[in-house]
């Protein structure tokens, strides 16, 4: 059984998930942590990954997918190298965020939920990034960009 798992999950992934489980009262409770661990390695959660994680956590794929599909930041479809989370909440909206985002969409040639043809970027809307004093804001991968304008947005992707 273990060998089958290792084909779908790496040793490092399994170890990281097992380490999370040690802090928890049961294996299932590690569901979200496990999804995040695997996603951090692979960018997204494929059906195969889902089944492998479910097995490791002693739950069914349906039980795990119910959790995976609930959360905004678990990707069940492939995403680009970097995910752009563009804030579409109220403070950014007030500071012209919509127009800046449209500009970004034109620049990259993608709409929300789409990935650039070169597989570099996936664009998603996100709830308030907590950077409202520098709105509009977005996150590219793990880096926060703020005080965005129609004029400066393009340069970030050059």
């Amino acid at each position: 059984m273990k060998s089958e798992l290792i084909n779908a999950l790496s040793r490092a992934e399994i170890d990281a998930i097992e380490a999370e489980i040690t802090h928890l009262p049961d294996r299932k409770s590690a569901a979200i942590d496990a999804l995040k661990i695997v996603q951090s390695q692979r960018g997204w959660i494929s059906d195969d990954s889902l089944s492998a994680i479910a097995k490791l956590l002693n739950m069914s794929a349906a039980e795990l997918d119910g959790i995976a599909t609930f959360y905004n930041l678990i990707f069940r479809h492939p995403v680009g190298e970097q995910v752009i989370l563009f804030c579409d909440s109220v403070s950014c909206w007030l500071m012209n965020g919509e127009k800046v985002c449209s500009k970004l969409q034109r620049t990259l040639g993608i709409q929300h939920g789409e990935t650039t043809a070169d597989g570099q970027y996936t664009l998603l809307p996100v709830t308030c990034l907590g950077d409202c004093d520098h709105a509009p804001a977005m996150m590219v991968g793990e880096s926060l960009h703020h005080d965005l304008t129609v004029d400066n947005i393009e340069a970030i992707f050059k």
Partner: protein, 427 residues
């Protein structure tokens, strides 16, 4: 004694490490109390301090804690820091976590000791990468110095603190949804009662507090309830992180006495409106609070006064609507957010919010009809009261809509009458 205890270490020169934190008097409360103080005395102190929860609801922290049953020795007891800061327009907890993470850790340690909790979680949103890194490093510093872990500071008391990174969902900020999420489940809120104090994380006694709330604890323990009460204006206790975003000259977040007037916050600290923009209204404390107008500028920012004015202080971070932004568009933006973040559990929220959003989008796009306002009002009545829905998400969503219809009704009517948004082209 500082008048801004929460931000005393935040001077824009990077995060406070454990040495700097200790040098500023940090962990003094922990050293003086862990294993020494009677938890019952600490609980009384927090009750006496009149500390109100800083997450938005303003519930008295001491009272919340007092509902935790006495330890039965049958398993874990949990303390959870709600660091899932996702309320649109709110950016206060990030400030503390990025710049003074030990303050949160010490606050949790003292709180956990008071509550006889042995395990703590910091539930933090995934986008706060910097805060996560700094908290993690602070936890390991604290562990090395025996402020966390087994037999803290040589006492018999043990407390293990972990960071849980959310998978992204506004509803996780609701404390029972947060608990389900911590358990690795879908973040659907739970029906209360039973309250988390009785059956929380994995069915065990649990307290969930906001980051800012917990950060107040060490200072209260150090300086006493009377000192804390003296910090606020009028009958209000302590300081509060206030802030403003939108078209103000100097958007930001400031620690000010509880009860500071809105005018002072907006005109002095935020520097007033940007040139060419006028103040039309504002949400006093995040997306789920009712609009207030320039008529309310002289109200003190404190829970009771804002409630009396028909809104809620919420997180205390104001979102400012200027005269060149469309109020209908702003409300449509808010409702889109609420509809998207509904967990999908109860009918009024799951079905009702998208309908409201659809109507607002239609009005904003110039396709509205007079009857749409009736539907909006009926839906607001249906969704808008606590108790009508499973949790406070949808009632919160109705606050800006109901108040928007009250203060900006003519704008709605103009959209419908003109068949277009009068602000189209403005920026």
């Amino acid at each position: 004694m500082t008048q801004s205890p929460l931000t005393r270490n935040i001077q824009g020169n990077g995060p406070t490490d454990i040495l700097a934190y200790e040098a500023s008097g940090g962990y003094l409360a922990a050293r003086d109390n862990i294993g020494k103080a009677d938890p019952a005395d600490l609980l009384q102190l927090i009750k006496d301090s009149n500390l109100l929860g800083r997450g938005g609801a303003g519930f008295p922290t001491g009272m919340k804690w007092s509902f935790v049953p006495p330890a039965d020795g049958n398993g874990h007891r949990y303390l959870v820091a709600n660091a899932d800061e996702m309320e649109p327009g709110t950016f206060k907890d990030r400030l503390i976590m990025e710049n003074d993470p030990h303050q949160l850790i010490e606050g949790m340690l003292l709180s956990a000791y008071t509550l006889a909790a042995d395990v703590g979680y910091i539930f933090i949103r995934a986008e706060y990468h910097l805060a996560i890194a700094r908290i993690r490093s602070a936890i390991s510093e604290a562990e090395q110095k025996c402020y966390l872990g087994d037999r803290i500071l040589g006492s018999k008391y043990s407390f293990h603190l972990q960071v849980h990174i959310s998978a992204g969902r506004y509803i996780c900020g609701e404390e029972t949804a947060l608990l389900n999420s911590l358990e690795g489940k879908r973040a659907t809120p739970r029906a209360k009662p039973p309250f988390p104090q009785v059956s929380g994380l994995w069915g065990r006694p649990t307290i969930v507090n906001n980051v800012e709330t917990l950060c107040n604890i060490p200072h209260i323990v150090n300086h006493g309830a009377n000192w804390f009460k003296s910090l606020g204006k009028g009958d209000n206790a302590g300081t509060k992180l206030f802030g403003a975003s939108g078209r103000v000259k100097n958007p930001g977040c400031w620690e000010l006495p509880m009860g500071t007037s809105i005018r002072e916050i907006l005109e002095v600290h935020a520097g007033g409106m940007q040139d060419g923009y006028m103040l039309k209204g504002f949400l006093p404390g995040g997306a789920s609070t009712d609009f207030l107008t320039p008529d309310h500028l002289d109200l003190p920012m404190e829970y009771e006064a804002i409630q009396k004015a028909g809104s809620r202080m919420g997180t205390g971070l104001m979102v400012v609507l200027d005269d060149r932004a469309c109020p209908v568009g702003m409300i449509a933006n808010l409702e889109k957010f609420f509809a998207r973040e509904s967990c999908g559990f109860c009918t009024p929220c799951r079905e009702g919010l998208p309908w409201v959003q659809g109507i607002l989008d239609k009005i904003e796009a110039g396709h509205g009809q007079a009857a749409d306002l009736e539907v909006l009002e009926r839906q607001a009545l249906f969704i808008g009261a606590i108790g009508n829905t499973h949790c406070a998400h949808a009632p919160g969503a109705m606050e800006p809509l109901v108040s928007g219809l009250k203060y900006f009704r003519s704008e709605f009517e103009q959209h419908i009458h003109d068949g277009r948004c009068p602000y189209a082209g403005e920026s």
